[in-house]
């Protein structure tokens, strides 16, 4: 299994110094990505999912207020210690990224076709004709209607779905090993979202890439991901394969989040379940479990001590929660505490 690890993140910490204090956006996150799989990092806004992948991609290398700790191992190298020049060879070639809002990330003064081949020319010694050929091949792959005409257009002349297709083409033109997709469909309409999801699934097979999907939309996760990491307040609270997360989640946050998502195919009687309160302030994160203040099953210890990571075998399932601590379970059995809550 360890040979298949394409990317491994070990105890990554990212913080930003601001006027108000140091925001600990990512507080010790570890995960890995295997070949040909799609993993999803799920969490609410501000939980550090974007900060994590921006650090991996080296997008905040020059950011003076940002400090990082930990290791990101890719291809035997620690990306955090790479120089900027080394990183630039990796960006766009070995790993690339799709952003949430294609309009903000495309250059409004450049024709979209030129933007897409810019990446290709940087990494390959290609003539313009070769690049254009590759571009048209890519455009067919992403099924952009009328490619010859559309590559000569500017971003504002395309619709949201088409712009997102261009972003995908740009990200995939060098055939990267890893594709980071940061909320790729959040800004799109549902019918277009369905098109883009199908496209990404299809391209993953064709280009043989692994996807790290970042989203808060559990429906998209159910559709695409093999494994899921749940993030809350800069930490991973639960990790398992997608089926286990949806059918047999163990962390109260995951359960609450799943409970608060309405489903089109069912009507929830008597109001939706909602999580009270809002996520903690990461300038001064709580000493105990970050979710304790909103958790209906919180105990005294949750507020004082960080919960340990508890692993369940077969299929691998990791939970950071005191409720699953062996001592708590033994005690519960002996005295019958906590049963009222469950």
């Amino acid at each position: 299994m360890s040979q298949d690890k394409l990317l491994e993140v070990k105890n990554l910490k990212v913080s930003f110094r601001t006027y108000a204090g140091t925001v600990q956006a990512v507080r010790g996150v570890s995960w890995h990505l295997e070949k040909k799989e799609t993993i999803a990092i799920v969490g609410e806004s501000g939980c550090g999912k974007t900060a994590t992948i921006q650090t991996i991609m080296g997008l905040n290398m020059q950011n003076p207020i940002c400090s990082k700790e930990g290791q990101v191992v890719f291809d035997g190298k620690d990306l955090l210690t790479c120089s900027e020049k080394q990183m630039r060879d990796i960006q766009g070639n070995d790993m690339s990224i799709i952003f949430q809002d294609p309009f903000t990330f495309l250059n409004p003064t450049m024709k979209v076709g030129d933007q897409v081949i810019e990446v290709y020319c940087r990494h390959h010694k290609a003539t313009r004709r070769e690049a254009t050929e590759r571009l048209l091949e890519m455009m067919r792959l992403i099924s952009l209607p009328d490619p010859e005409k559309n590559i000569k257009r500017y971003p504002h002349q395309l619709s949201g779905g088409q712009r997102q297709r261009i972003m995908i083409a740009m990200a995939l033109i060098c055939g990267p090993k890893i594709l980071f997709a940061d909320e790729p469909t959040t800004a799109l309409d549902v019918t277009i979202q369905a098109q883009i999801i199908e496209l990404m699934k299809h391209l993953k097979e064709q280009i043989d890439t692994s996807i790290v999907l970042i989203t808060h939309d559990l429906g998209v996760v159910a559709n695409m991901a093999n494994r899921v990491y749940m993030m809350y307040a800069g930490q991973i609270v639960e990790h398992a394969d997608a089926r286990t997360i949806f059918k047999n989640s163990k962390h109260p946050y995951t359960r609450a989040l799943l409970g608060s998502v309405p489903r089109v195919d069912q009507k929830t009687e008597g109001g939706l379940f909602s999580i009270p309160g809002s996520p903690p302030d990461l300038i001064d994160p709580p000493t105990g479990c970050a979710f304790a203040a909103r958790c209906s099953q919180a105990m005294n210890i949750c507020k004082r001590l960080q919960p340990p990571e508890i692993t369940f075998p077969e299929p691998e399932h990791k939970v950071c929660c005191w409720l699953h601590h062996p001592e708590y379970k033994a005690r519960k059995k002996a005295v019958g505490v906590g049963e009222r809550h469950e």
């Binding site: 806004s45 098109q195 939309d217 159910a222 949806f246 998502v261 909602s274």
Partner: protein, 326 residues
């Protein structure tokens, strides 16, 4: 209950002029909202749902058709009646960051409407504002803070308190939850529902989120490029939807369950929403529809009743039913 509907739209059309073209954002809509009900208005971006909301609020003048409030056309109102109408119909906006004045503390924001309409003394207004904040789950300490000190969900609560201040009968909610996180969305939807039960409010709930709208709406209207394509009771719409667009829309929504997802067959629509310019004499959906024939390109289908309180605008319903929407 009084039989007269609270609000009635009769063939409302709202147009915008873009250079030489006319953009028909809302193109002939008939709709009724009763007292105390929630009507969900669903559609993709650019289909004219917000324009319709603003037309109801007397912000856009319809080019044709009438907006009747309690049986009277709102465009025949005198100035004082117009002001009274503004009290009875309120709005909650999509973006809780842009819709609150950053220079006003929260109780001023909430009581601004009372101030404009000259209701209560300043002290009473302050008390009323605090009472409203408590109704939406905030408290007294929040009253003297500025909007930037709040999170998105809390700001949306302030927006709701402000809409409630003038004791309206109808609130137009324009995508009130789409800027919020999932766990906060449920809080806001539950709050809106509780308030409706307590105060007998009617909502026009404009959204593109079909899964959330089911939880709150009594009836749902599906809109596509300025026209209604289907209108039904909410459970009915989810279980017996008949218009090809509704079918595609519902099948496009991912469900948070990998087993269900693996089994579902998706109806993928080709292309994007077409331009709303120059679609007068045809079915608004015909360019993306699998069933479209010549008829659809030349004649606009009208909404007709296919079952009790279930309206669909499509020429080829028999065909669609036979193929199960595919």
């Amino acid at each position: 209950m009084n039989d007269q509907p609270l609000l009635e739209l009769q063939g409302v059309k709202t147009f915008f002029r873009i250079k030489k073209d006319i953009l028909k954002a809302v193109n002939g809509i008939d709709l009724v909202i009763h007292r105390g009900e929630t009507l969900g208005l669903v559609g993709e971006s650019g289909c004219g749902k917000s324009t319709l909301g603003k037309t109801i609020l007397h912000l856009y003048k319809p080019a044709e058709g009438k907006v009747l409030y309690k049986g009277r056309d709102i465009w025949t109102y005198s100035k004082t009646e117009r002001k009274l109408y503004a009290r009875q119909v309120q709005m909650i906006f999509q973006d809780p960051y842009a819709s609150l004045d950053p220079l006003m503390v929260v109780h001023e924001c909430v009581a601004e409407g009372l101030n404009i309409h000259g209701i209560y003394t300043p002290k009473e207004r302050y008390e009323k504002a605090i009472e409203l904040l408590e109704q939406v789950g905030l408290n007294k300490e929040h009253a003297n803070r500025f909007p930037h000190e709040f999170s998105g969900g809390q700001r949306q609560r302030i927006g709701i308190a402000r809409a409630l201040a003038l004791e309206p009968e109808l609130i137009v909610c324009d995508e009130p939850i789409s800027a919020l996180d999932v766990s906060i969305q449920a809080q806001i939807v539950n709050l809106l529902r509780d308030l409706q039960e307590k105060k007998g409010l009617a909502y026009l709930f404009i959204t593109h989120d079909l899964s959330m709208v089911r939880q709150i709406s009594d009836r749902i209207a599906v809109m596509y490029l300025g026209s209604l394509v289907e209108l039904a009771h909410s459970d009915n719409l989810y279980e017996h939807h008949r218009h090809p667009y509704t079918k595609a829309l519902l099948s496009a929504i991912p469900i948070a369950d990998p087993d269900v997802e693996a089994k579902r067959q998706r109806i993928l629509l080709s292309g994007d929403v077409s331009s709303p310019i120059g679609i007068d004499q045809m079915c608004s959906f015909c360019k993306r529809c699998h069933y479209a024939t010549d008829l659809c390109f030349h004649e606009k289908p009208l909404l007709r009743e296919v079952a009790e309180d279930h309206f669909v605008a499509c020429h080829h319903l028999d065909q669609v039913d036979k193929n199960g929407g595919r």
